[in-house]
Amino acid sequence: MTAPGDADVAADGPAARRLRTAVWVVLIVVAVAALAYALRPAGSRTDAERVRDLAAEIRCPDCESLSALDSQTGSARAIRRDLRQRVADGESDADIRRTYADRYGDSVLLKPASDGLGLLVWGLPVLLVVVAGAGLVVAFRRWRRTPTLQATDADTAIVEQARARRAEP
């Protein structure tokens, strides 16, 4: 029977290490690219794109669940006109959101706020991902430490003897 850890040595060869390094590099590149995309500066958007994005975030006041972008009511049209004017006047997205929240209440914003209970909405999925990732790391480490047993010639001989005994009448 091989000693515990022998299999680890075999699985930890140069090829396996290179593969592992490559996997980590790909993961880091994907994570950095996703972060860069998510945090790209708002200044790269055109005014029309900002108006569209803001209208998609603001609830149509006289609709149940439509945004000002999707609704065709008079209020939604007025909001889109107002957003165009505010963006043209140079107001920031945060200021515009604040103005609407001050006028209609926080419920006019379709995206939850990033404080109070809204923090839970944003933070819980991140927390779950972190906890799940940590769990996977622990599980993978355990699996790696579990020795892979390989039958020696002596083990095979014992099994053959046992089979022979069973086969005897």
């Binding site: 006041p61 009511t73 209020s75 107002d82 006028r103 209609y104 209440g105 355990r142």
Partner: protein
């Protein structure tokens, strides 16, 4: 290893418990409760401009110095039509008082429909159009009828969502410093 697993399990348990407690405290609370109240109560009158049917411009500055009732309505709105008799009685009761203004702003309707309605009813109050809906937006209206009381110093002191009775209007007027 066994202790570490226990710590991880305990940490996850604490997080789950905290989430359950937070969510449990939210049961029964309406996340859109602020949609049933005006956020402008107690705040200064927003800037706006409306235009009467004869072309006269009325701005927020024109309301200063008077106790004003601002009513948002439409001709096609059934609750607004039901409210109209109360507005008529209230308007008639204060028609001779220059310190009181009843301003009915059309929220989302055609000029033709409003002209026809005014011609048939001859209302004893000021009717104004809100092209582009900017005044309705400035007041944060969510529908019609909605009524706001404005004090002479330009503060929104009372509001009502839905049809108002004459008694409601008189109460709001008194809150706005009127007779």
């Amino acid at each position: 290893m066994r202790h570490r697993t226990r710590w991880i399990a305990a940490a996850v348990g604490v997080v789950v418990l905290a989430v359950v407690v937070v969510l449990a405290t939210q049961i029964g609370s309406d996340p859109r409760a602020d949609a049933k109240t005006s956020q402008l109560a107690g705040k200064p009158l927003p800037e706006f401009t409306v235009r009467t049917l004869d072309g006269t411009t009325i701005t927020s500055d024109d309301l200063l110095g008077r106790s004003t009732i601002v009513n948002f309505w439409n001709t096609w709105c059934v609750p607004c039509v039901q409210e109209a008799p109360a507005l008529a009685r209230f308007g008639a009761a204060h028609a001779a008082d220059d310190s009181v203004l009843l301003l009915a702003v059309v929220r989302d309707d055609t000029r033709r429909a409003v002209e026809k309605w005014v011609a048939s009813r001859d209302p004893a109050w000021t009717v104004a159009l809100d092209p582009g809906g900017q005044a309705a937006l400035a007041f944060g209206t969510r529908g019609q009828p909605e009524t706001f009381a404005v004090s002479p110093d330009g503060v929104i002191v009372a509001y009502q969502f839905g049809p108002a009775t004459q008694a409601d209007l008189e109460t709001m007027l008194r809150a706005a410093g009127g007779p």
